[in-house]
């Protein structure tokens, strides 16, 4: 499967994909590690089930947003995932898109200007 290179062609992302990308920005993680990171970052608001998570990860790997990397030898059963540069671009593009939407909302005084 060929990978598309224009990051914007993936937008808008599903919430699940965006959360997974964000969780991988600072570190490589394995499946449960991603679920934990997302749960922690969203204060438990978003919790992945294993099926949704791996179903999504497989798709993302096929699209070239993440790649599988060798895990630590202590846990050879686990598969670790790393953000590709395309994945990083896509996450950034989605963040820009959302930021633009949010500033639109602020312009209408729908939400306050301070960080909410």
């Amino acid at each position: 499967m060929g990978t598309r290179t224009d990051a914007r062609s993936y937008l808008p992302l599903t919430a699940a994909v965006f959360h997974i990308l964000l969780s991988l920005v600072d570190d490589d993680r394995h499946g449960y590690g991603i679920a934990k990171e997302v749960a922690a970052a969203t204060r438990g608001q978003v919790r992945f089930g294993p099926g949704t998570l791996y179903g999504t990860l497989v798709r993302m790997a096929k699209a070239g947003l993440v790649v599988e990397v060798a895990g630590s030898p202590a846990h050879d059963r686990r598969r670790y995932f790393r953000l590709t540069s395309l994945g990083r671009d896509v996450a950034r593009a989605e963040a820009h898109r959302l930021a633009a939407l949010v500033s639109l909302a602020r312009g209408k005084s729908l939400i306050s200007r301070s960080r909410s």
Partner: protein
């Protein structure tokens, strides 16, 4: 425990089982999913305990359902959310589809009231009873006790090999305890408890109130706080400073009028003047001695707590194992470490006591000990109700499957109009989810009532420490159960129906599809499964029934019929009490309808008594052969009153006066003087020098309980070793008349004494087997329900099959098969899964027998009679279930059957 607790392993197995239901695209990631589940369960347990595990199972279930509905396509881009969305939405939203399905399902259910009512009622029964039992088991066995540091509280007992025949687990010896307290490094606090009681005359009619001696640290280590004043402190254990008492909220309100200035006021209980130093808050549960030790012990919940002062007379090495003991582990100290620490101290004590002595501590979490008496019974009852719930699910699944045959065409039309396989499956599951939800709601209401009934009336040996009731955990459980039930019931029909939907069903040829659909193997497997569960439950019921029958048939050694038991007593000096007891005996004897009356300090089958070592004065035995005997103080007429026969020699006489005499039981005689006449011989009690002369031999009695064989027992006249408590009255006529007369007569005799309590001896005997009886009744009920449902399952599947095979049967008959051949054919088809299920069920019963062992009496787990009876019962009920379909098959008229298509 080195291994992980069973519920973690159980939770993981459940979650993985559910995760196996992911669609194929995700199932390819199975190892990843499995390790995800492992990690999630592990960390959920660490962070949130059982609730966390339940949450993980819930999340995985929801995820499976979502994945199945949504299909394998998990998109990266959310087209619907973006500005590019143009034209027709690719699919309707999940929720609106669900709502439409639900409305449609509701309509269908209303159209089939028969199915709906059967489904709802059986589900309500299954889910309700499972939830009720789960709630009770959860509150008693799993939920932390309501004390500050509940996870660090342990109950301590002792194992003394030389007394192991009386009880392998004994209460604690005060001498050992004082060594633990001064030498052990594993505990923040260690406390003793033992029951007491006395007549309270302050604030109204004199009443007998129960209380407990407790060490100074006892109440504080539980994390309790006083509502008024203070709790007991270690300084209260100093002799001379121990006339202080902490009272319960109830006693404070009922007897002292809730006086806010009660602290510092005097309170007289028994002959003892106390100063009230504190009041406990309302609703606080303080452990009783019987809740911290294994030997059964009929104590009452306490209303006052006085300091336990260890006196020199309590410190008898290797004897007097009498006291309950709890410990508060230091933070970070494990139960095993605490045990090792105590073992070290016990070794020193045993070595210093003698060459052949040995002693071992038994340390358990307080919750485990408190729930120990209820544990096995709860597990068996939970097993029985779960089996019935599974049978209900299997039956409903078959029922839905058979209804699905009729809907084949409808589904084909839906498929032809573009409904995806998954949409069809979702439609099917929505229907079962709806039924399961309504059934659960009914069941949940019933469970609330059942839990209430269980607590009010059911004798399960439940500890009275944690509040029990329907709560958030029960809600979580019932919601989970609903989803699991719906999946169990609906998954199979949904899968088959949506998979087999083909163009063919639209044509005339629909029948052939119907046959492959419900035909066969799966239905028969389901029937085999439910027969297995029913047979297993029935075996358990049979074994419990056998045990109960044996127990009731035991020769008790006394005659409870027409015997009354009266508790009466006064405070005062030993002489005053003996005089009072003599007056009571005379008064009762003079009442009309009384045949005879006796006095004892302890009734038969009322738990472990005072056990003491004994040796023959003629020195026939070495110290290690001294038997341990049950020790009782009685009046001469006691034996006649309760119906214990005199075997040899004579009873006590008043003329025995202060000359130490005793009667011994047949067993004691044969232990101490085997093959000889003991009358005229003497013995000494351990720790005493006075020789006691044996004047007679009396029959053996079940002293501790019906299930425990009679122990060697010795009796002394109550006036020589003064201990009293119970008057046993044998009536000549109607016991009820005497029972009505007694309290008034005794109250007139001594207005200062509390109103005496009168009970029938037969009721006391019944009370000791009430727990068994209740377990038996519940298990028998669910076993019968299970067998009935399984028979219905056999009937349903066979009837369907006969209906489908009418043409085939017609052909067979046209080719020369006789009606008897058809009977045989159909019956064999019906009984094949039954036979399979029976084999599996009986094997399962043997495997499950381990849990059952503690509940059985006089029967073995593999008792052939029970297994034979169950086989006959299941086979007979299945034969009955086969009868109608087989008869219908045999009546098939070949000419009509062949013309029909």
């Amino acid at each position: 425990m080195t291994d992980q607790p069973w519920f973690i392993r159980f939770g993981r197995a459940v979650a993985k089982g559910i995760a196996r239901q992911y669609p194929r695209s995700i199932a390819a990631q199975q190892p990843d999913v499995a390790s995800f589940v492992d990690e999630a369960i592990e960390s959920a347990w660490r962070e949130r305990g059982v609730r966390g595990i339940a949450a993980v199972i819930g999340r995985v279930s929801v995820d499976v359902v979502l994945a199945r509905w949504r299909g394998p396509a998990l998109p990266i881009s959310d087209w619907r959310a973006g500005p590019r969305m143009i034209g027709v939405a690719r699919r309707t939203s999940m929720w609106s589809a669900f709502a439409a399905d639900a409305r449609y399902a509701l309509r269908r259910l209303r159209q089939a009231p028969g199915f709906t009512i059967v489904a709802l009622l059986t589900l309500a029964l299954g889910i309700g009873s499972t939830t009720a039992m789960f709630t009770v088991a959860d509150d008693v066995l799993l939920k932390p006790l309501p004390y500050g540091a509940a996870d660090r509280l342990v109950a301590i007992q002792e194992n003394v090999p030389k007394f192991a025949s009386i009880a392998p687990e004994l209460p604690v010896n005060a001498y050992d305890f004082s060594h633990w307290r001064s030498e052990s490094h594993a505990f923040d606090a260690l406390s003793l408890i033992t029951g007491t009681g006395g007549i309270l005359s302050t604030g109204g009619e004199p009443v007998f109130v129960y209380g407990a001696y407790v060490s100074g640290t006892f109440l504080t280590m539980l994390g309790l706080h006083a509502e008024l004043g203070r709790l007991l402190v270690p300084a209260d254990e100093q002799p001379g400073h121990d006339d202080v008492v902490v009272i319960s909220h109830a006693l404070w309100v009922d007897r002292l009028g809730g006086d806010p200035t009660v602290v510092g006021r005097p309170l007289t209980i028994g002959n003892h003047a106390f100063t009230v130093v504190g009041v406990l808050p309302a609703g606080v549960k303080v452990p009783r001695q019987s809740e911290v030790q294994s030997p059964a012990f009929g104590d009452n919940s306490a209303d006052f707590w006085r300091p336990f002062v260890i006196e020199a007379s309590d410190l008898i090495v290797m004897s007097e194992f009498d006291f309950g003991c709890i410990g508060l582990l230091k933070p970070g100290v494990s139960v095993a470490q605490a045990r090792a620490d105590l073992e070290r101290i016990e070794d020193h004590i045993a070595q210093s006591a003698g060459p052949n002595e040995s002693l071992h501590p038994i340390v358990r979490p307080l919750q485990t000990q408190a729930g120990a008496r209820a544990h096995d019974g709860l597990v068996v009852l939970l097993g029985a109700v779960t089996a019935v719930l599974l049978i209900v699910c299997v039956n409903l699944s078959n029922l839905v499957l058979s209804r699905a045959v009729g809907r084949q065409r409808e589904f084909a039309v839906r498929a032809a109009l573009g409904a995806s396989t998954r949409r069809l499956a979702a439609l099917m599951l929505t229907e079962t989810l709806l039924v399961a939800t309504i059934g659960s709601a009914l069941g949940f209401a019933a469970a609330g009532w059942a839990v209430h009934a269980i607590l009010l009336t059911a004798p399960l040996g439940l500890p009275d420490l944690s509040p029990i009731g329907i709560d958030a955990r029960a809600w979580t459980f019932v919601s989970l159960l609903t989803v699991v039930t719906a999946l169990l019931v609906g998954a199979l029909p949904a899968r088959r129906l949506s998979r087999r939907t083909s163009r063919a069903a639209l044509g005339d040829n629909a029948r052939s599809v119907g046959e492959t659909l419900a035909g066969g193997r799966t239905s028969r497997m389901l029937v085999a499964g439910e027969v297995a569960l029913a047979a297993m439950t029935l075996v358990v019921a049979g074994l419990l029934l056998g045990s109960f029958a044996r127990l009731m048939g035991v020769d008790k050694g006394f005659v409870p019929d027409r015997a009354l038991v009266v508790s009466a007593g006064i405070s005062g000096s030993r002489e005053a009490q003996i005089a009072f007891d003599r007056r009571v005996l005379d008064t009762i004897r003079a009442l009309p309808g009384v045949a005879t009356v006796g006095l004892t300090n302890k009734l038969p089958i009322s738990g472990e008594g005072s056990n003491t070592g004994l040796h023959a004065a003629d020195g026939a035995m070495g110290p290690n052969d001294w038997p341990t005997v049950d020790y009782r103080c009685v009046s001469p007429d006691y034996f006649q009153a309760i119906g214990i026969p005199l075997v040899r020699g004579r009873l006590f006489r008043d003329s025995d006066g202060d000359h130490p005499v005793a009667l011994i039981s047949v067993q004691a005689a044969s232990r101490i003087w085997p093959g000889r006449d003991p009358v005229g011989h003497s013995f000494r009690l351990e720790g005493f020098d006075v020789p006691i002369e044996v004047v007679g031999v009396v029959g053996d009695v079940h002293g501790a309980s019906l299930q425990k064989a009679p122990s060697p027992t010795i009796y002394q006249p109550f006036w020589q070793q003064f201990r009293s408590g119970y008057f046993v009255v044998r009536t000549a006529g109607d016991p009820a008349l005497v029972a009505a007369e007694l309290p008034r007569a005794l109250h007139a005799l001594e207005p200062e004494a509390p109103m005496p309590r009168v009970r029938a001896m037969a009721d006391l005997v019944d009370a000791t087997v009430a727990q068994r009886q209740f377990q038996l009744e519940v298990v028998v009920f669910f076993a019968l329900v299970g067998v009935l449902l399984a028979a219905l399952g056999v009937y349903g599947v066979l009837a369907q099959s006969v209906a489908r095979r009418t043409r085939e049967i017609g052909v067979r008959m046209a080719l020369g098969a006789s009606r008897a051949d058809v009977w045989r054919l159909i019956t064999r088809q019906g009984l094949a899964p039954v036979a399979m299920g029976l084999v599996v069920g009986l094997a399962g019963a043997v495997a499950a027998g381990r849990i059952l062992r503690g509940l059985l009496f006089g029967v073995t787990i593999t008792e052939p009679r029970t297994f034979a009876a169950v086989t006959v019962a299941v086979a007979a009920s299945s034969l009955v279930a086969c009868y109608l379909p087989a008869r219908r098959a045999a009546r098939v008229d070949p000419t009509i059957a062949l013309r029909a298509d």
